[in-house]
Amino acid sequence: MPILSIRKEGGSVSNLESTSALHGFATPGRYGKRDGEAGVTASERKNLGLATVVARKGQEAALKTAIQGAYGADLPDGSRSAVGKGVRFIGIGPGQWFAVSESLANEALADELATKLQGIASVADHSSGRAVMRIEGPAARDVLAKGLMIDLDPRVFVDGAAATSTLSHMGVLLWRDGNAYDVALFRSVGGSFWGWLRDSGAAFGLEFVTTS
């Protein structure tokens, strides 16, 4: 059971160690092709702050102004990201964004956004519901192409580009961060995702590492 925090009347106890979404399924190591450098490297970005931000009716302009003021990011009108101070905002639908942060870990991101956006946006914490897997390496695109129906050619899927789609029938949000691809998936499909990744990466050599 992934338990990130126990909430108690207004306060929260968040010192519990979060459990990997792949705990019990995947162990770090090399999978598939053994010789040469690994074609693809996968790791879990743990303890990220994850939250959805949905503009209240008629408040989209006010929300954009508030995000610009607080984080220096222009909320995008499409499926791509805007990186502001400590927070990446990804368009997931008209008037809706998915926020990702390292510095505002776990539920701290949703807590801060909810406070700053009171009355103009609805904020929901997703940090205990989603896992973010980082896929990188020279064969990253070839591996992802086995499950995604998205054109990942770098001329089209540029740095910061994002897509809400399905990966081997699992609903995912994918975005590009430099040369790495981050895949946010529901924690409950962690085992299925691992099965897909292990088999799809085998031909290229898959190195699975964990992050602290």
Partner: protein
């Protein structure tokens, strides 16, 4: 078949769900006198050969409801708009 979602771009049919004729309008009245209008609204649909305005839901993508203009003979899609346009 692909649908060019105004938000997500071109995506395969399997990401969408067909949600019927986009032109039917719910009757204002709930009085007995509006019975025929309700039967029309709930049950009766035209089956045109040619252009058809229909609703599609992008359930595996941005979750938008789309109004798609499709030729039922050729499957050619000539327009896709967000159903929430102007709201």
């Amino acid at each position: 078949m692909r649908i060019n979602c105004p938000y997500c771009g071109a995506r395969g049919l399997e990401e969408f769900t067909y949600r019927g004729d986009a032109t039917v309008k719910r009757p204002e009245s709930i009085e007995e006198s509006a019975r025929d209008a309700w039967v029309d609204y709930v049950y009766l649909r035209d089956n045109p050969a040619g252009l058809h305005k229909e609703l599609w839901h992008h359930g595996a993508g941005c979750h938008s409801w789309l109004e798609v203009t499709r030729n039922t003979v050729t499957h050619e899609i000539t327009a896709v708009e967000l159903a929430a346009k102007g709201r």
